[in-house]
C-alpha cells in the first residue's frame, strides 16, 4: 500500500492548493501500513456499502470538474475486495438456501415456510451434541451472521475521505466527543444567560436523572461506533459524558445523553408460579419448581394451613441437620407466612444441601402467589427468587479433582 504514496501526493498537488496536505499524506501512509479496510470503516454493512459506493461515485460525478475522473488505486483495491466478498457471500447465501430446503425435506416439512428456528431445531435433532459450550455445537445460520461484516469505503473514487475526521483514525469516536463538547458549551452559555438575567429558579429540576440507566459498556460502544476503541478512549468518553450529565441544565440534552446510555430494566420475575388453584373448601394451592446444584424440587403450598411440612412423604425429619431446616425457614420469615400455610415438596437427586436449596427456591416462588408486590420485591431483594447458578466443577485430567493436584512426590 505504501506504493500509493507518490501517486496520492501527486494527485493532491494537482488539486486545489492546500498547504497542510503533506501532513495528511503522512497520516494516510501510516494508516495504510495496517490492513486497509480495518480502519477505513463506516456504519453500514457490505450490501449497503455498495449503494454508498454508487452514491459516492454519483456525488463525484455531479460535481462540476474539469479533469477526467480518476479512480485512486486504494479505491480500486477496495472495490476488488468488495467484489470478492460479495461473490463469496452470494455463493454462501445460495448454499444456505439450498441447505435449508434439503433440511426441510429431511425433516418432512414445507421448504418454503422453513424458518431459522426450524433450522435450529432440525440441527439439534439430527446432530445431537453434548458438548458443554453451546458455541461449539453444530450450527447452520444465515451467512451474514456467521462471516464478519465488511465495512463500506470511507473515501470517494478520487481517494478523498468523506469524513472530515477521517485521519484521526477514529472519526466517529472523535466527532462524538466534539458533539459532547459543543453541547456542554451551549449549556454553559445558557446557564450564564440565566444567571445574568437572575432566573435561577428556572434552572431547578433540569438536571439529567441518571437513575435506572447506565453508560454503554466498552463493548456496546465499540459496536455502536463500529470503531476499535480502547479502554483509555472509553474512559475519556465516560468522563466527558459525566461532565455533561452533571451540568445543572443537562436535562435539556436528555435525549442525546440517553442515546449513549442503556436503561436498566427491573429483573423480570421468572413466571415459574402457576395460576392459583382453588380446591374444595376454598383452599388455595400454588405449585412451583426449584433447582439447586443437581437437585430438582416441586413444591406445593396450600393456604390456609397449619404449618405442616411434608418432604417426600416424611416430615421435616427428612433433613437430619438443623442447618437444612434453617434453609427452609427463610422464605417463611421474609414472607411472614410461617405457620399459616401447608407445604408438600417432592425432591429428587443430589444431596441434602442441594435438596434443601431446591425446596427453598420452589417454596419461595410458590409463596409469591400469596403475598403482595411489596413483599415479593422484598423476597427478590433477599435473593430468595434468584436461582443459584453454581454447579459442581468438572474434574480435570492430570489432576485429582477440579482444582486439587496430585500429591507431588519427588521420585
Amino acid at each position: 500500500m505504501a506504493v500509493l504514496s507518490p501517486w496520492t501526493r501527486r494527485m493532491f498537488l494537482k488539486g486545489n492548493n492546500m498547504p497542510s496536505r503533506p501532513v495528511f499524506t503522512f497520516f494516510f501512509l501510516k494508516q495504510n501500513t495496517d490492513s486497509c479496510h480495518k480502519h477505513a470503516c463506516g456504519f453500514s454493512t457490505a450490501p449497503e456499502g455498495e449503494d454508498m459506493l454508487l452514491n459516492a461515485s454519483k456525488k463525484t460525478q455531479n460535481k462540476p470538474t474539469a479533469k477526467a475522473v480518476t479512480i485512486s488505486r486504494a479505491m480500486k483495491a477496495y472495490m476488488e475486495q468488495a467484489k470478492a466478498y460479495d461473490d463469496k457471500m452470494k455463493a454462501e447465501v445460495a448454499d444456505y438456501e439450498i441447505g435449508k430446503r434439503h433440511l426441510a425435506n429431511i425433516m418432512g416439512e414445507d421448504p418454503d415456510s422453513f424458518t431459522q428456528a426450524d433450522v435450529d431445531r432440525a440441527i439439534e435433532y439430527l446432530l445431537p451434541s453434548s458438548i458443554y459450550d453451546k458455541k461449539a455445537r453444530p450450527i447452520m445460520k444465515d451467512p451474514y451472521e456467521v462471516f464478519p461484516k465488511k465495512k463500506a469505503a470511507q473515501f470517494g473514487l478520487d481517494g478523498r475521505p468523506y469524513h472530515w475526521m477521517y485521519f484521526t483514525i477514529l472519526p466517529n469516536y472523535y466527532s462524538m466527543l466534539y458533539e459532547i463538547t459543543w453541547k456542554l458549551e451551549a449549556l454553559k452559555e445558557a446557564e450564564d444567560q440565566l444567571r445574568a438575567e437572575r432566573r435561577l429558579e428556572e434552572m431547578e429540576g433540569q438536571v439529567f436523572n441518571a437513575a435506572s440507566s447506565e453508560w454503554l459498556s466498552l463493548h456496546a460502544l465499540k459496536t455502536k461506533l463500529v470503531e476499535n476503541i480502547k479502554e483509555k478512549e472509553y474512559n475519556h468518553f465516560v468522563t466527558m459524558m459525566e461532565r455533561l450529565a452533571a451540568h445543572p441544565l443537562s436535562g435539556r440534552e436528555q435525549e442525546f445523553i440517553m442515546s449513549w446510555r442503556i436503561s436498566l430494566q427491573a429483573e423480570q420475575l421468572e413466571s415459574a408460579v402457576q395460576e392459583l388453584e382453588v380446591e374444595e373448601g376454598g383452599r388455595m394451592c400454588a405449585t412451583a419448581k426449584g433447582t439447586r446444584k443437581s437437585s430438582n424440587a416441586i413444591v406445593k403450598v396450600y393456604k390456609p394451613g397449619s404449618g405442616n411440612f411434608i418432604i417426600n412423604g416424611k416430615d421435616l425429619t427428612y433433613f437430619t441437620q438443623n442447618m437444612y431446616r434453617e434453609t427452609l425457614l427463610l422464605p417463611f420469615i421474609v414472607s411472614g407466612l410461617l405457620g399459616k400455610v401447608d407445604v408438600e415438596a417432592d425432591v429428587e437427586m443430589g444431596g441434602p444441601t442441594g435438596q434443601a436449596g431446591a425446596i427453598r427456591l420452589g417454596l419461595s416462588r410458590a409463596l409469591t402467589a400469596f403475598v403482595d408486590e411489596d413483599v415479593k420485591e422484598k423476597m427478590r431483594l433477599s435473593g430468595l427468587l434468584t436461582k443459584d447458578p453454581r454447579k459442581k466443577e468438572r474434574k480435570k485430567p492430570g489432576q485429582e479433582g477440579a482444582r486439587r493436584k496430585f500429591t507431588w512426590k519427588k521420585r
Binding site: 404449618g307 411440612f309 416430615d315 421435616l316 425429619t317 438443623n322 431446616r325 434453617e326 425457614l329 417463611f332 420469615i333 410461617l338 405457620g339
Partner: protein, 405 residues
C-alpha cells in the same frame, strides 16, 4: 459444669452490655456457681401460677389436664431417679437449680396401665418407642417415680447398650457356667445403683436357696439381699452372679411376698442385636461376644420372660443402641429384630411422639422463665414459632437449639 454455667451467663451478660454482679446474690449453697443461678430460682416463687407449670408434684395424681406442664421432683427422689437421665438433661436441671419434668401423654398412659394391671397375671410388657430425642427415657423416669411412690421395687437398667460395647472393658469368664462371660465392673455398678434405688425396701428380703460361690464361701438360705450386694461389691469376681441371684430371688419371691417389681430397661434392643465388630466386646481369645453370652444380659433376659407374676416390664427401644447401619426406622419390630421381637411378643407398644404445639410452647416458656433463652427475639411469638419449626418440635433438638440463645 459448675464452672461453665457462670461462664455462659457471663458471656451472655457481656454480650448484652451488662455487668454480672455475682456478689449481690446470697450464697445459699455455698458455691459461686449456685449464687448466680439462684436468680432464676427466686423468680419462680413469684411466678407460681405460670402457664407451663403445675403445683401437683405427685406424679400419681397427674391427669390429662396436666399434659405439657412441668412439675418439680424433690431432691431426695432425684437421687433415685437421676441414673439414666441423659447427662445434658441433668446439666440443665443443675443450671436451673431445680429438677423439673414435663407431664406427657405416654407417661400418663403407662402409669394408667400400671395402676390397673392385675398383678397375679404374668408380668405384662410395655415397649416405648419413638424418634431419637422424643423423650422415651424421661417417660420411663416419670413412670418410675410413680412406681417408687407406690412402693414398687425398681429394677432399672439405665442404658443396656453399655453392656455390649467393649471400650477397654474387663471381661472375665463366668464362674458359674463355662461359655458365658462376666462384666465385673458393670455388675458392681448396677448393684450399687439397685441398692440406692430401693433403699428401705430390701430389709425383709432373704434368699430362699443356698448359693455356693467357692469351696469355702457360700450364702446360706436366709441371707439378706444387703449381704448379697455387699458380697458382690467386695468380691467383684462374683458380682455378676450376685446380680443373677437377686433377679432370680425377686422373681421367685414376688408372688409369695406380694412384692411389686418394676423392670425398666432402656434400649432393650441391645440385648438382641449384634453391636458392630469394631467396638464389640471380645473375650480372651479376641472372639466377638454375642449379647446372649454375657451373663448380665442373660439374667436380665429372664426378667423379660412372662414366667413370673407380680411385676411389670417397661422397655424402651432406641436407635442409638443399634449399629449405625441398622437405624433406618424407630419401630420396635425393626429395632428388636426377629429374635428380640419374638422374645418380647406380646407387648403393649406405646408411641412417644414429638412435642405437640402446646408442649413445645410450654418448654420454650419454661426456658424463658429460667433465663435460659435470653435473646429478645426468642421471647417473641415469631421467635418461638421459628424455634418450633427448626427443631421440628423434637424435645432434644429444641433444647439443643435453645442452648445458645
Amino acid at each position: 459444669m459448675a464452672a461453665s454455667i457462670p461462664k455462659k451467663l457471663g458471656t451472655l451478660a457481656s454480650r448484652a452490655g451488662l455487668a454480672l454482679r455475682k456478689s449481690v446474690f446470697p450464697l445459699e449453697n455455698g458455691s459461686q456457681a449456685c449464687a448466680c443461678l439462684s436468680v432464676a430460682a427466686k423468680r419462680s416463687e413469684n411466678n407460681q401460677r405460670s402457664s407451663f407449670r403445675t403445683n401437683e408434684a405427685d406424679p400419681r395424681k397427674h391427669t390429662l389436664d396436666h399434659t405439657g406442664l412441668y412439675y418439680e421432683i424433690p431432691e431426695d427422689e432425684m437421687t433415685i431417679l437421676k441414673t439414666g437421665i441423659p447427662s445434658g438433661h441433668l446439666r440443665l436441671m443443675k443450671s436451673f437449680n431445680e429438677s423439673c419434668l414435663m407431664v406427657r401423654r405416654p407417661a400418663l398412659e403407662l402409669s394408667g396401665y400400671l395402676k390397673n394391671i392385675n398383678l397375679n397375671h404374668p408380668a405384662p410388657r410395655f415397649v416405648l418407642y419413638g424418634r431419637r430425642g422424643s423423650g422415651k427415657t424421661i417417660t420411663m423416669h416419670h413412670t418410675m417415680q410413680c412406681c417408687h411412690r407406690n412402693g414398687w421395687i425398681i429394677v432399672h437398667v439405665p442404658w443396656a447398650g453399655k453392656w455390649v460395647r467393649g471400650w477397654f472393658k474387663e471381661v472375665a469368664a463366668s464362674t458359674f457356667k463355662p461359655g458365658r462371660y462376666d462384666l465385673p465392673a458393670d455388675s458392681a455398678e448396677w448393684l450399687t445403683q439397685f441398692r440406692a434405688q430401693n433403699q428401705g425396701k430390701l430389709q425383709d428380703l432373704k434368699t430362699t436357696s443356698e448359693y455356693i460361690w467357692t469351696k469355702r464361701e457360700k450364702a446360706e438360705i436366709g441371707t439378706s439381699f444387703e449381704e448379697i450386694i455387699n458380697f458382690g461389691l467386695t468380691r467383684l469376681k462374683f458380682s455378676s452372679d450376685c446380680v443373677g441371684v437377686i433377679l432370680k430371688e425377686l422373681r421367685a419371691q414376688a408372688q409369695a411376698k406380694g412384692l411389686k417389681v418394676l423392670v425398666a430397661i432402656d434400649s432393650v434392643n441391645a440385648f438382641y442385636v449384634q453391636w458392630n465388630k469394631l467396638n464389640a466386646l471380645k473375650n480372651m481369645e479376641k472372639k466377638q461376644l454375642q449379647p446372649g453370652e454375657i451373663s448380665l444380659i442373660h439374667n436380665f433376659k429372664k426378667m423379660i420372660n412372662t414366667n413370673w407374676t407380680h411385676g411389670a416390664v417397661v422397655c424402651a427401644v432406641s436407635e442409638e443402641a443399634n449399629d449405625e447401619t441398622k437405624r433406618e426406622s424407630y419401630t420396635p419390630i425393626y429395632l428388636l429384630g426377629q429374635e428380640g421381637f419374638e422374645a418380647l411378643d406380646p407387648f403393649v407398644p406405646i408411641f412417644v411422639p414429638e412435642y405437640s404445639e402446646k408442649e413445645a410452647l410450654s418448654n420454650i416458656n419454661y426456658f424463658i422463665d429460667r433465663n435460659w433463652i435470653q435473646n429478645h427475639y426468642g421471647k417473641t411469638d415469631d421467635g418461638k414459632r421459628e424455634l418450633m419449626f427448626v427443631s421440628n418440635k423434637n424435645p432434644f433438638n429444641l433444647a439443643r437449639i435453645c442452648s445458645h440463645l
